[in-house]
Amino acid sequence: MPPGVQAQMSASPEALRGLERVWRLLGRAPRRAVAAPDTDAAWADLARRLDAPEADAAPDTDAAPDTDAAWADLARRLDASPRRRADRRPRRPGRLRPALLAPAAAAVLLALAFGWWSRPATVVAPPGEQRIVRLPDGSTVQLNSASRLRYARGFRAWPFADAERRVRLEGEAFFEVAHDGRAFVVETFNARVEVLGTRFNVRARREPAGPETRVLLASGRVRVIDSKRPGRAILLSEAGQAARVTGQPSATAPPAPRVVDLERALAWRNRGFTAVEEPLSAILAEMERRYALTLEAEPGIALSDSLTLFYMRPVSAEEVLHDICLAENCRYRETSRGFVLFSPDAP
């Protein structure tokens, strides 16, 4: 409690005690979470902005690329020298030659370094929040709520230039891939999306009703491949084209791309909320992720009914529920962790 408040209230200890309790109570209230890029990303962004007008002003920020370049150089040299020697004389088994010890130690070090390097980085957007990730190659990824992105942290500087840039996604994200000549690959639980430089949305949700990966192209070209049937690829080449991989063995030919309204499908990026002909169960699951709450439905609610909803601007869970109930002729009430939908006709 600030001393000033205490001084002012010193005349009546009773009132002061009351205010002190309010003060303590406020301290127990959790702080509101803010959905914004994390501090590291924000700092990187800031450092770039400061350097932009006077590029030579900050030699200290060059530390990371320098290390990477030095490492690439070192790795090349370590790789090259023992191999040439091995070519010339075949190794005699059974004898440990001191001349080989140094390369062997170097190889072990290399393996350790590689192990560290290839340790994947993971970015998680918890329910109710979003994250913006800047990948080491300059690509950016906007992660929707309850989504996870993993990638090998070194994927920019690894010396093998033909290595593809590979990320693994659970959930939904919008990618803006920087063009650097290498393929960029998004892997989900059942599909692979291959691109060069482009912008697209991937949604990989394992809904009990129908686990599927949906890919939506905003610009450029991407190839969508069913992991179980690698021969089955769908090429998306026009903005608004969408493909889905459901893993169902029904059709023999890959389904033709559909064309969807980009702005609507990407409304989540502006904290809007849209669903096109989705079963109510899937809509409720998406709302749970988006708003970090628990939604229940009492018997009598038709969870398999298809609904279409468009909110292009930020919208609260309650507004969405209100409209769902209007369409489905149901009611909702608040619970400790969310809401429950019920039918007014039920006993």
Binding site: P2, G4, V5, Q8, M9, G18, L19, R21, V22, W23, L25, L26, G27, A29, P30, R31, R32, A33, V34, A35, A36, P37, D38, T39, D40, A41, A42, W43, D45, L46, A47, R49, L50, A58, D60, P120, A121, T122, V123, V124, A125, P126, G128, E129, R131, V133, R153, R271, Y291, A292, L293, P314, V315, S316, A317, E318, E319, S336, R337, G338
Partner: protein, 203 residues
């Protein structure tokens, strides 16, 4: 939250250095000191600005702007004055300027049905829902319902831990008035809490 890179934060030996030293080094164009200041205040400012403008992404942009101008103004800093107060004041001015611009902007679009934006949403409706805890929700609601100046003084004092003098510098009023605002705000909240759940104030 779990960004992989965050597991290995860059070494900043001065992260906990006294603010005055940091400010002095910042004034001398020390980039490490600047980064330490950024890392120390960024989250706090983000929450502060977000509560004013009601949008996290805008808040992020505004806070980045604040730090860019801080770097531009570094040579004019006065180390003996509170850097914290200075930053909050910059953030506050930036946020209110943004709201003013935004309002002017929405007025032009008013006939297109954009009136909803004209009143800055102080309370994040979606966000408020996240706090499953009903009490927390109510508390935030009551704080939002306080008169502007009272709410601002109380928030800076309680949630951003600024001293009365710092708040006075941020709000450009006297420390005495700051104190009055805070006492009034606490009294008002006490009345609300008593009406809602008197047991919370026992103990």
């Amino acid at each position: 939250m779990n960004a992989g890179r965050r597991k290995d934060p860059p070494p900043l030996p001065n992260a906990e250095a006294p603010l005055e030293d940091l400010c002095r080094r910042l004034k001398a164009s020390d980039r490490d000191a600047f980064e330490a200041v950024f890392r120390r205040f960024r989250d706090d400012l983000l929450r502060y600005v977000s509560a004013i403008v009601g949008d996290d992404h805008t808040a992020h942009d505004l806070v980045q702007d604040v730090f860019v101008s801080l770097w531009g103004l570094r040579e004019r800093l006065v180390p003996t004055k509170s850097l914290r107060a200075y930053l909050f004041r910059m953030a506050r001015n930036r946020a209110y300027r943004h709201l003013r611009d935004e309002r002017a902007h929405t007025r032009k679009r008013a006939e297109m049905g954009a009136e909803a934006e004209a009143t800055p949403p102080r309370l994040h409706t979606a966000e408020a829902r996240h706090d499953a805890d009903l009490l927390t929700q109510r508390l935030h609601g009551w704080i939002d319902a306080l008169p502007n100046r009272q709410r601002e003084a109380l928030t800076l004092s309680r949630f951003h831990e600024l001293s009365h003098h710092e708040i006075a510098a941020v709000m450009e009023i006297s420390p005495r008035t700051v104190n009055n605002h805070i006492v009034r705000a606490l009294e008002r909240l006490k009345t609300r809490i008593q009406a809602f759940e008197p047991s919370l104030l026992e103990s």
